[in-house]
């Protein structure tokens, strides 16, 4: 059969080359990894009208000076011991048995001069203007770690799961709603046992 002399067929042979070129471009420019970091809430600007009176023994003060040294409750401390000290403070549960503030799940020393109840315990973090950001993050990390360790302990006891994993699953957008609903209850319960009360006071001026 004689072919009609029409427009010649466009060669598709180079299609793959073009696609490869584009592919390599997108391969190079892609960043798949998600960022991670420490989540914090800043205190609102307006002062509350009647600031609650907080007992001195319920406050755990941590100050960082310009050289990155720590002053914890008026004593010098190295950073690697901070997590342990913070956990002792939070888990202390000093309120006597029978009082409304009694902490039934605390495993601390129950020292009358330290915090009454994890609900009342506040960690106050102060830093100097010259403190290095890296040091500040390390301290923040240790304090958050202290909370996480305690929360993990309680969630293992109550639900047999690790709190940090539970929270990560709860925050993951791929988790189904039914699972989320169930997790939400557990996560809030644990958060209620050890609420994160970490106050970042304004920087000291010199």
């Amino acid at each position: 059969m004689a072919r009609r002399a029409g427009a010649p067929e466009v060669s598709a042979g180079s299609m793959a080359d073009i696609a490869f070129l584009l592919l390599i471009f997108f391969l190079v420019t892609t960043t798949i990894e998600t960022d991670a970091g420490l989540d914090r809430m800043l205190p609102p600007m307006e002062e509350p009208e009647n600031p609650p009176i907080i007992k001195q023994k319920n406050i755990f003060t941590v100050s960082i000076n310009r050289n990155g040294q720590l002053l914890v409750e008026d004593n010098i401390l190295t950073i690697d011991k901070l997590r342990e000290r913070a956990m002792d403070f939070l888990d202390n549960g000093g309120a006597p048995q029978g009082s409304p503030e009694y902490c039934s799940y605390c495993k601390g020393k129950r020292n009358g001069d330290s915090s009454d109840n994890p609900n009342k315990a506040i960690i106050s973090l102060k830093n100097d203007r010259e403190t290095k950001y890296g040091t500040y993050i390390t301290v923040q990390n240790e304090l958050v770690g202290a909370y996480n360790d305690l929360r993990n302990r309680e969630s293992k006891r109550l639900f047999g799961k690790v709190y940090v994993d539970m929270e990560a699953e709860y925050l993951n957008p791929e988790t189904s709603d039914a699972v989320k609903e169930e997790l939400k209850e557990q996560v809030t319960r644990i958060q209620g046992l050890f609420p994160q009360k970490l106050s970042e006071a304004e920087t000291s001026q010199e």
Partner: protein
Amino acid sequence: MSKFAKKKDGEIPAVSTASLPDIVFMLLFFFMTVTVMKDSSLKVDNVLPNASEVKKLEKKDRIIYIYVGKPTREYEKTFGTEPKIQLNDKFSSPSDVGDYILMERAKKPQELQNVLTTALKVDKNASMGLISDIKQELRKVNALKVNYTTFKGDAFNNLQ
């Protein structure tokens, strides 16, 4: 001639590459959809500190970034070696942070405006004074949710 033709019949045919473009296109579309283009080039040194107790920042559409660090070498002459704030593509002072947050917030859809997070990408050698100033500005515009972006790792590496 017919002898040769017969021989050819018995050979294994070459693998067809006709579907290669399809495969490549499939990959191409995958990478096109997952790609996030960098919207601003970094003008500051930005070595993030390490931390172990991190949470992932999901949902990139509800994050506002603030970069802090020492200007890179090409900007050192004009901007000095003290840590600076970078918002979008330019160096800024702490007093600009509030306006920037409000502007970025206005760009986002209505339903996301209350759930925005500010990601602070700060070089580990920056000093806290600048960060405190930023935090004050954030409080003024009621952008209270912050995330100190870090690498996942041992936090004690920051001290060296």
